[in-house]
């Protein structure tokens, strides 16, 4: 064994230490982002979640919109409900995809927490959610008038996120 080789373990450990040190300072793992941002929405159509209400599709709508992925059983969805109402009041069009949900539960949820949605579709087996590359509930996509996904918001929308999403919508115009 050459002399320098004796110092290799220390060098290797220094690398390991650097890696775990970096692990300590980096932001915590966030859920996987959709790789479809910048691409067209996949074609999809879902059954309407509530009778008499329009449903959401993957077709281009001609104007920018938010697609909100939510569920009545999802606790953070309650937290973001006021912010969604705020976005709607600011003129945003919000379509919703309800994940693994029943019409009765959805209706009750909207009754209790407000209903900012222009259209709601039912995604019983998360098929559309998976096709969009969404990794959890809630999530919100910004889609432009040509049906191209411009931005993905992970987790619930907080007060601070409202202007960000409005700006993204403006950019998508």
């Amino acid at each position: 064994m050459r002399r320098w080789a004796l110092w290799l373990p220390l060098a290797f450990f220094a690398v390991v230490l650097a890696v775990v040190g970096y692990g300590l300072v980096r932001p915590p793992d966030e859920p996987l982002r959709s790789h479809l941002v910048g691409q067209r929405l996949p074609a999809f159509s879902l059954p309407a979640a509530l009778p008499g209400r329009p449903t959401v599709t993957g077709a281009a709508t001609g104007e920018p919109r938010l697609i909100n992925i939510f569920a009545s059983w999802c606790v953070p969805c309650i937290a973001e409900a006021p912010q969604l109402l705020q976005l709607e009041a600011a003129g945003a069009r919000i379509d919703a995809i309800a994940i693994r949900d029943t019409p009765a539960d959805i209706a009750r949820f909207l009754d209790r927490h407000g209903d900012p949605f222009a259209a709601i579709g039912r995604d019983d087996a998360s098929k559309v959610q998976l096709a969009l590359g969404s990794a959890g509930v809630p999530e919100t996509f910004v889609v432009d008038g040509n049906g191209v996904i411009r931005h993905q918001h992970l987790g619930n929308i907080t007060e601070e996120d409202v202007p960000v999403l409005l700006a993204e919508l403006e950019k998508a115009r």
Partner: protein, 639 residues
């Protein structure tokens, strides 16, 4: 007042630890034998105080003292006694206290029982042990005080995760901790040897029993942990290559390599530098593994809160201890090198191969575990490294290692001939060939790796018994039995893993009452569902009746609901038969149907039986060595 007494005991222990370090440092520098002589009693009292502090914490949990923050956060007065006790180490602060306690007791044990080392070497070892201890005391007292009070006291505790409320899991952490921290002794020995330059057979013989004890506990801990994951998780998997499991595997791999290199050092005075390296690496892996799990940098959903101060604190300790030992190694090991020469084809050669391959597997596990962090840091890319990677890389190397293990014990020390080895292995080759032939004739679709695994297991099982061939079994030394049984255990375990991978049958169904399902050779009838209640949970229990010829067997899988904290769990029903296990899980309800998952896992039990044999082999070896050392000591005193 009890909590304050615990804290006081802890402070006193820390003070004695500092004293121990000072005694060694001054004593060695100034050649003061009287100071060195005081080290032993100080270390023993320190061990007692740390143990007292830990017992007091357990007492607080048993009494459900809701004025102590830790108890409130991790216990509940309605929990059964056993889980109140286990709650003491089922959290960050308590488990750190347990870590420090084991460390202090390990130090006390060296002080009390280690008589083989020269006094300089013993003192240096005790100094190293105190140096490690001091850092962890500081961490505990300044960043993780387990005895902090809550004012005003809470009316009730928050409870413990229900999945941790399992008799096996309750006592799993102490077992592993004794293994992890036991390796600190080898680490301190190595540091002592680097400082004093005394490395040789005598040193190896002194270190071996300590390594063996730690290794036995690690083996038991990992084997048991694997079995609990198997029955608690409810999907029939027994090893997931999860960072947390890898953290326990890495010290074991290093300790296994260390055990083998120590025997070269003890018998042939070879592999001196290697042995010191492995002794440093083994405990380093314990610390790195614990840190990785504890800091939450790899397992973001882990129960322990991620606190950057704590993380940084431990990181600094790691840098200090491991970096310090490795720097000492780099600068000093040149003075201790050189040993007896040997040929590649020899017992030493096989042991070098063992060390090499175990180290490579260790490196693979470490790199694979850390790589997601590296990819994130260097390329801002999220990557997941899981079973496919580890199986593809570590798998073949492990198989090669097992093959060499078959040959190793049959080789002579220093030099041997390959032809002679072939002759000694002929029955093993016949056994392997028979297994291969049987698998082909039976038309078993095993897949490549499981096929090789089964053939190898058959051959190695026979080869591992070969060292007993032609011997008087009664006069065969106990440690030879130990080696034979441990190696047999590897073969048995490999057979179980391969059989499970090759022949498992799975049936997933949504069944109505009265439906009959088939899984492997069994017909399973779904009889019905009824509610049952436990001490702090309620459950729905399915009744299944399984038949394979003979009398029907009843299986009662449960879906449990715990109230505090509100959680659902699945309790698998497992029926062990001579040739495998029938494994049943009850899932969610779907109108008038219930999700039922069934597995028939032929010979899966061999995995853990093998693990138990490996640990038993270690125990026999320990007792055998101990007896021989004692006999030798007696002879010396007579002469």
């Amino acid at each position: 007042m009890i909590a304050e007494a615990g804290l006081a005991a802890l402070w006193l222990a820390a003070a004695l630890c500092a004293l121990q370090l000072a005694l060694v440092a001054i004593g060695m520098k100034e050649g003061r034998g009287d100071l060195i002589a005081a080290v032993r009693p100080v270390a023993m009292v320190q061990g007692l105080l740390a143990a007292a502090s830990f017992l007091i914490l357990i007492w607080l949990f048993v009494r459900s003292d809701m004025s102590v923050e830790l108890v409130v956060a991790n216990s509940h007065s309605a929990k059964p006694l056993m889980y109140r006790i286990a709650g003491a180490w089922g959290n960050h602060e308590g488990s750190m206290l347990m870590w420090v306690t084991v460390l202090a007791i390990a130090g006390a044990c060296i002080a009390a029982f280690e008589r083989q080392l020269t006094s300089a070497m013993h003192a240096a070892t005790m100094g190293a042990q105190a140096f490690i201890g001091l850092g962890f005391y500081a961490f505990l007292l300044f960043a993780s005080n387990p005895f902090a009070r809550l004012s005003p006291p809470a009316p009730e505790g928050l409870g413990l995760n229900p999945l941790l409320q399992d008799p096996g899991l309750a006592f799993h952490p102490p077992t592993l901790y004794i293994g992890y921290v036991g390796l600190s002794i080898a680490f301190s020995f190595a540091v002592g040897a680097l400082v004093t330059g005394e490395v040789g057979p005598k040193f190896a013989r002194a270190m071996r029993p300590w390594v063996l004890i730690a290794w036995i506990f690690l083996t038991i801990g990992i084997t048991a942990g694997s079995y609990w994951a198997y029955y608690e998780l409810g999907w029939g998997g027994w090893w997931f290559w999860d960072p947390v499991e890898n953290a326990s595997l890495m010290p074991w791999l290093a300790a296994t390599a260390l055990l083998h290199s120590v025997s070269v050092l003890a018998t042939r005075d070879g592999l001196r530098a290697w042995t010191l390296m492995l002794a440093v690496v083994a405990f380093s892996m314990s610390m790195v593994g614990t840190f990785l799990v504890r800091s939450g940098i790899l397992t973001s959903v882990h129960a322990f809160a991620v606190d950057p101060t704590r993380g940084t604190f431990i990181l600094v300790l790691l840098a200090l201890y491991i970096g310090g030992a490795l720097a000492l190694y780099g600068s000093r090991v040149a003075h201790v090198r050189s040993g007896a020469p040997f040929d590649p084809v020899s017992r030493e050669g096989a042991l070098v191969a063992n060390n090499l391959l175990l180290s490579v597997i260790l490196a693979i596990v470490l790199i694979g575990t850390l790589y997601p962090l590296i990819a994130d840091g260097l390329f801002s890319e999220q990557l997941s490294v899981g079973p496919p990677y580890f199986n593809a890389t570590a798998g073949p190397i492990a198989l090669l290692l097992v093959a060499i293990m078959a040959a190793g014990p049959l080789l002579r020390w220093r030099s041997d001939r390959l032809g002679a080895l072939g002759a000694r292995l002929r029955f093993a080759v016949i056994a392997g060939a028979t297994m291969a032939l049987a698998l082909v004739i039976l038309g078993a679709e095993a897949g490549v790796m499981p096929f090789i695994g089964l053939v190898l297991a058959a051959g190695v099982a026979v080869a591992s018994l070969a060292p007993l061939w032609g011997r008087n079994l009664k006069r065969t030394p106990l440690f030879t039995w130990g080696m034979v049984i441990a190696h047999l255990g590897i073969a048995v375990s490999l057979a179980g893993m391969s059989a499970n991978a090759a022949f498992t049958k799975e049936t997933l169904a949504a069944a109505r009452f009265g439906d009959v399902l088939e899984v492997g050779p069994f017909r399973v009838k779904f009889m019905g569902v009824r509610p049952v209640a436990g001490p702090n949970w309620s459950a729905l229990e399915a009744e299944l009746r399984a038949v394979r010829g003979g009398a029907p067997m009843r299986l009662l899988p449960q879906a449990r609901f715990f109230a505090s904290p509100p959680t659902n769990t699945n309790e698998a029903a497992i029926r062990t038969l001579w040739d495998g296990q029938l494994y049943a899980v009850m899932g969610a309800r779907d109108d008038d149907r219930w999700q039922i998952r069934l597995w028939w896992k032929p010979f899966v039990t061999l995995i853990w039986l093998g693990g138990a044999l490996i640990a038993l082999g270690g125990l026999l070896s320990l007792v055998g060595r101990w007896r021989r050392e004692r006999a030798a000591a007696l002879r010396e005193s007579w002469l």
